[in-house]
């Protein structure tokens, strides 16, 4: 910032210095003043059509729109302190409500609706629109696999049109008709089925574009938002898990200008489904007489430690690329007395689907969040070789791996097989010990995305039954083996990881924050050396 030209403006009496070329609206945000707006969105080209962000600029003959007016040195701007601007905004709200059905009680957007919010904040209590005048009516339209368009609620901010035209690069939406008859139209032979089209639902400031998947599932005010990282691919999009009770009901993008800006793909939006699966392991299981029996944690941990104590030889860790760095690190540490081989399955599971309007943002072919983290921590992607090596290993530790294509015979040939997992695939029943762990929505942890950015995710709901985070299970095993102190939180587990793994040196949960930190390149050289 220091080498940029800064311009100082006063907004509602608050002085603020911003880079030259910044819009009044963005400058006001810096000053802590929210200029109400509809059509403006930082991730889209400016349209300047809703006229909601009209502000008074001293010396200008008329009100100016905050979204398209750049700051000028010494400018004095009034937003909430200008009766004229307030009156103009009231006017816009009154105009917008002319054709807007007040069906908030059945509208999915209610509670997070910008029209509702601003009307509540500064609109007039009553409309002067004659109640006998008919409101514009158009039937609900099916725009695509997951998107409904409710034209009656539309305020024609054109965010969706601009997203499809300029960000997704697929010109399927338009404004059809003119005047108050206008509505958002769709190409007659096309559907809104772009991999990134779900963003139009987030962008819509009102309940006009709706997700069929989320339709009538929950009211916005019932949802708890938890910052998380999308597990759909190695891009590492920042997301919020919206949960109601013990269920995650939707995943929405969380802005991170460095990673995903304001967007996420439709595949990522569906990842919440696996967080609500019902076939979870809820208690530690021990093999006894050819059958698995539920036991308590003390019993299970003691049994595992017994099996490991004194053993030597090869240890193989088959880890899921969705395992957290903490779990991967502790699994490796657990294997320190052994000859360690760790592997993850890093395969191109699908086509890469970029979002053309944002540099370096795509649904990646590698459909797992933490392959890079595993690589940095010393795990290889030669999964099949690791499976072969498992056959004669003294210890095989499985970290929620799907075990697809791994035969039970392989595991039977190994010494001790410990399976830490969320669900129990048939093959895993061959393990002597099954320990239930939590999934991404049920624990704190970190992933490293494909651009080496270490990012945190937080717990959104409790795990099922006795399931515990993998870092806790592995930490307790180390304690049981007399090789460490227990961790009371993921923060502590990460602190130990950061201490021992050079790539993570100097990092902590506090340092990572919610935007993440890119691991420096030098670190990898040290690790591989």
């Amino acid at each position: 910032m220091a080498d940029q030209d800064l311009v100082t403006v006063t907004i509602d009496g608050i002085g603020v210095s911003v880079p030259k070329g910044t819009s009044l609206l963005e400058a006001a945000k810096q000053a802590g003043v929210l200029i109400p707006h509809y059509c403006y969105h930082p991730g889209l080209p400016v349209a300047g059509v809703c006229r909601m962000c009209l502000v008074e600029v001293e010396g200008a003959p008329k009100l100016q729109i905050g979204c398209a007016t750049p700051v000028a040195e010494g400018q004095v701007v009034r937003v909430n302190r200008s009766p004229e601007a307030q009156r103009a905004r009231q006017g816009v709200l009154e105009f917008l409500l002319i054709n807007h059905p007040l069906d908030c009680p059945i509208c999915d957007q209610a509670g997070e609706c910008e029209l509702q919010n601003y009307v509540f904040q500064e609109g007039q209590a009553r409309t002067r629109y004659t109640p006998t005048f008919a409101k514009r009516f158009n039937p609900v339209e099916d725009f695509g696999p997951d998107i409904l368009y409710v034209p009656n609620r539309c305020i024609l901010c054109t965010r969706c049109v601009r997203f499809m035209d300029h960000v997704a690069g697929e010109e399927v939406l338009n404004v059809s008709e003119r005047g108050d008859r206008a509505f958002i139209g769709i190409h007659p032979d096309r559907e809104l089925d772009h991999t990134w089209s779900g963003n139009v639902v987030d962008l819509c400031p009102v309940g006009s574009l709706l997700s069929k998947d989320f339709l009538h599932k929950a009211r916005a005010w019932e949802l708890d938002k938890t910052p998380s990282i999308c597990t759909g691919c190695s891009q590492g999009c920042n997301v919020n898990l919206d949960g109601r009770g013990h269920t995650v009901v939707r995943v929405r993008p969380r802005p991170n200008v460095e990673v995903n800006r304001y967007f996420m793909c439709d595949l990522g939006r569906l990842t919440y489904r696996s967080m609500n699966r019902g076939d979870r392991i809820e208690a530690p299981l021990i093999a006894k007489g050819g059958q698995l029996h539920a036991v308590d944690w003390d019993h299970a941990l003691a049994r595992a430690a017994d099996a490991m104590r004194g053993a030597s030889g090869r240890a193989v860790v088959l880890a899921s690329p969705s395992s957290s760095n903490e779990a991967l690190y502790l699994a490796k540490r657990l294997c320190e007395p052994f000859d360690f081989t760790g592997a993850v399955r890093a395969e191109q599971a699908g086509e890469e689907a970029p979002l053309p309007g944002v540099a370096n943002l795509a649904l990646r072919g590698e459909r797992a969040p933490n392959v890079t983290g595993a690589t940095i921590l010393g795990y290889t992607d030669r999964f099949d070789a690791a499976v072969e090596a498992a056959a004669g290993a003294a210890l095989v530790l499985i970290l929620d791996e799907s075990l697809e294509g791994v035969s039970g015979d392989t595991l039977a040939k190994a010494g001790t097989v410990v399976y830490l997992g969320t669900a129990l695939p048939e093959v895993a029943r061959a393990a002597g010990l099954v320990l239930p762990v939590t999934d991404v929505a049920e624990e704190d942890g970190t992933f490293v995305n494909r651009d080496r950015r270490a990012q945190r995710y937080a717990q959104a709901k409790p795990g099922p039954g006795m399931a515990r985070p993998a870092w806790w299970v592995l930490g307790e095993l180390l304690v049981e083996l007399g090789r460490g102190e227990p961790f009371s939180s993921a923060t502590e587990a990460f602190a130990e990881l950061a201490e021992h793994e050079s790539a993570f040196h100097g990092l902590s949960y506090a340092r990572l924050g919610w935007g993440g930190v890119v691991l420096e390149e030098r670190a990898q050289a040290e690790v591989t050396a």
Binding site: V46, A47, G48, V49, C50, R51, M52, L54, K62, L63, I65, A68, R87, A88, G91, V92, E94, F95, L96, I98, N99, R128, Y129, T130, F133, I155, L156, T158, N174, V175, E177, R178, G179, D180, R181, A182
Partner: protein, 435 residues
């Protein structure tokens, strides 16, 4: 000349000299009448000198805003780094305005000449003449003249044998009023929806296809050859009142006059004379009630105001209105102002591009309130509501379409409030409001 009427002695015929003269339409006919001499002269001049000459003449935009043409041309980059464009705004859609149509019908080569001179002045290679889609006859005539001009070497890669490239195309609009707004016109030429753009950037920096562009009205461009051949001083002398308004102006007089038509008079001509003498005055037994002087988009004047109004940019502003496009709509005492305002508002509600909230919703709301009043269901508060809605629609949008709806309606309520109240109180019988 008040074609199809004979020219009135008080007219100053410059642009309309050849109106009604079929022979002037052809290249040869135009040459006989002294055509293309101005272009030849201009191409021999430095572009900057042409701009200076036009600046000196005081020629102002005839499309409605009245911005000095030479100054506008001066906004174009002097050092050319990109292609430059000239757009001729022939999307004459303003209700009550029909002057550009006549210019194109009778003197197509005059317009081509004006465009070519301007293209030279602003260093534009390509000129688009954007004609509204309904103008089928002017489009045919312009296209024929354009083809002829290319055949005779007036235009093309080697315009008039000077080695300069001047290309010109007729672009047919699809009949949207809003495409007469300069930035909407540019979008329309680009093949996009005709929505006005936010400014800045202004067209002289980022115009059609993102290149520096100048847009001028047909009448403005058609005046340019006359300025070059007869000189800026002569043009400046065509002024009866304020020296800031120079030259002649074509007024399209329509409505309740006995001789509606185009009349070309010097700037500063009294409106009263134009209506009562040139346009033949009111029909027998009728008296003047009101005039909207600049198409339908400006505040209207009542009888007294219009009879004292001086027809130039400043005179109209002084009278509380604007010169606009020069489309004068005259109402006599038989006119129902409430109904007329409803019709005007309906036009704007139909033509609103739907971008800005105030315009999209406000124009339609205005129509509904006026229709309610006409049905006899209005309340006195509706009048204040109309004024307040009008205020919200003024000066808050990208273009001036919503202002154009609010201006006549607001002025009618102020000047003819009694007529609105008569509907509300029931003193006047309700009418079917749906056209």
């Amino acid at each position: 000349m008040g074609y199809p009427h004979k020219p009135h002695p008080k007219e100053t015929v410059v642009l309309s000299e050849c109106f009604g003269d079929r022979d002037a339409r052809s290249y040869d006919g135009w040459i006989e009448r002294g055509g293309y001499r101005a272009l030849e002269q201009a191409l021999g001049m430095d572009p900057q000198d042409v701009i200076t000459e036009v600046k000196e003449s005081g020629l102002r935009g005839r499309g409605g805003a009245g911005f000095p043409a030479g100054v506008k041309w001066g906004f174009m980059p002097k050092k050319k780094s990109k292609p430059h464009y000239l757009c001729c705004n022939a999307d004459e859609s303003e209700p009550g305005t029909f002057k550009d149509r006549e210019i194109m019908r009778w003197t197509p080569h005059g317009l081509i000449e004006g465009c070519a001179i301007t293209a030279h002045a602003i260093q534009a290679e390509i000129t688009y003449i954007y004609i509204r889609g309904e103008f089928t006859e002017p489009i045919t005539i312009m296209q024929q003249a354009l083809d002829e001009a290319y055949e005779r070497g007036v235009l093309g890669a080697d315009a008039m044998g000077t080695g300069r490239q001047i290309d010109m195309y007729v672009h047919r609009g699809a009949g949207a009023y809003i495409c007469g707004e300069e930035t909407a016109l540019m979008n329309s030429i680009e093949g996009k929806r005709g929505n006005p753009r936010i400014r800045p950037p202004f067209p002289a920096a980022v115009g059609v296809f993102g290149m520096p562009t100048t847009i001028n009205n047909v009448e403005t461009l058609a005046s340019v050859p006359h300025i070059l051949t007869r000189g800026a001083q002569w043009y400046k002398s065509l002024c009866r009142s304020n020296p800031k308004s120079t030259g002649t102006k074509l007024f399209s007089v329509c409505g309740h006059v006995t001789k509606p038509g185009n009349y070309e008079v010097e700037m500063g001509f009294p409106m009263g004379e134009l209506i009562h003498e040139l346009a033949g005055g009111m029909r027998p037994g009728r008296t003047l009630k009101a005039v909207i002087p600049g198409g339908s988009s400006v505040p209207l004047l009542d009888r007294e105001e219009s009879e004292t109004c001086v027809l130039d940019y400043e005179g109209c502003v002084e009278a509380g209105t604007m010169l606009g496009s020069g489309g004068m709509i005259v109402f006599d005492d038989s006119a129902d102002m409430v109904y007329q305002m409803m019709r005007i508002a309906r036009f704007y509600a139909h033509e609103s591009c739907a971008q800005c909230t105030q315009c999209r919703e406000g124009t339609a709301w205005t129509v509904r309130i006026l229709q309610k009043i006409l049905r006899g269901e209005g309340a006195m508060t509706d009048l204040d509501l109309l004024l307040d809605v009008g205020e919200q629609m003024t000066g808050k949008t990208i273009c001036v379409l919503s202002d154009s709806c609010a201006a006549p309606v607001g002025s009618a309520i102020k000047k003819f409030r009694g007529e609105f109240e008569a509907y509300i109180t029931g003193a006047r019988q309700a009418v079917a409001a749906l056209v």
